[in-house]
Symmetry: C2
């Protein structure tokens, strides 16, 4: 059955791989599953045809036969359940890998999003200069805890899993700020993720779209 | 096997049911699974014994034999996979219920958290009065989209699922602001969740802790 995902016609990040389709591309590359990418414009994302697929008007979406999914974490979990390579087979390690998927988007990403909002949406506000360091410290609080848990390990819980795929992707969003590099083990962890051939292929695929 | 969760010794909300242990209690009540709750103080949550269970120093955690989980969404998904009643049996509706679990914490909750942070952590800042309406509009943007998708349905995708349990729980956090009541179908949706006997039992259990 053909898998079709949606991606930005032109990503706001200009092809740095931070748009969420990269996460889904990466997962599909890890399990060696071919897919089609349908590109959508910002305008088309807010129109009824796309909103029928994704009620929040975003990318990526995932279509496979009659199944339509949005929400990156759910798409990646679906892929991981259908193909070997992204979740351990044993029940307890499997549950912990899923735990890290949720931790990525529910615990680590929210302060990172808040920081991005502060920089992107509130840069022109009179409070911007005073408020940004406060928000940066909220990011640091989470990174400090994550760094302590990771310690000297390669991955969050044994072998590479969908939990690492999600966490590395979330951490990539904060790298340009310099905050990630304050934690050498987290910076190395992200580099380890980026070095995976599947990540490289996913990154190249989204870059090709944005270089057209 | 005994299930033990952790909860606040004294919840910051004074027992209004907004602490995340209520979500896990609700899931366990839906599947009629008994559990023990171990109460932890704010101080104990930041100490090594608790950090070994939960690297971000929060509640709830979930212990069942050798399995230790944190992250509410992952705990609820684990419960739902082990017991009937929270996820549809058919693969496609099941994947969509999990999609709504992720949408709750990754798409709808972040602006709600940002709003809570603006009120709780930045109330004394000089920008508070001017900034709060901006953040409130970010919440409205999501609630408008969610309201459009729910329409006149009782639940997000057919029968009640763990996706609804999570979404109702997330929406409850914003009710006191008045924003939820701007969307009558969402307010009715949340009331429908609260009316479930399992929710009532979960709410009573956390209230009993906070009334001691």
């Amino acid at each position: 059955m053909t898998i079709t995902i949606t991606a930005f016609e032109r990503s706001p990040d200009g092809g740095r791989g931070l748009a969420r389709d990269t996460r889904v591309r990466w997962a599909l590359e890890e399990v060696a599953r071919p897919y089609d990418a349908r590109l959508v414009s910002f305008r088309a994302m807010k129109e009824p045809a796309h909103l029928a697929l994704h009620p929040f008007g975003q990318i990526p979406t995932y279509e496979e036969g009659d199944l339509v999914l949005f929400e990156t974490g759910a798409i990646i979990l679906h892929i991981a359940e259908d193909h070997a390579g992204l979740l351990p087979a044993d029940p307890d390690p499997r549950a912990r890998a899923i735990m890290w998927m949720f931790a990525s988007v529910n615990t680590v990403e929210p302060p990172i999003l808040e920081y991005a909002n502060a920089k992107l949406l509130e840069a022109d506000k009179p409070w911007s200069a005073e408020r940004l360091p406060i928000v940066a410290d909220r990011v640091r609080a989470r990174l400090t805890q994550l760094s302590a848990r990771l310690g000297g390990a390669d991955w969050l819980d044994g072998t590479f899993s969908a939990g690492d795929l999600m966490m590395v992707s979330v951490l990539l969003r904060i790298r340009a700020s310099g905050l990630l590099d304050e934690y050498s083990n987290l910076a190395a962890y992200v580099a380890r993720g980026e070095a995976r051939p599947a990540y490289q292929r996913a990154f190249a695929a989204q870059l090709a779209v944005n270089r057209r």
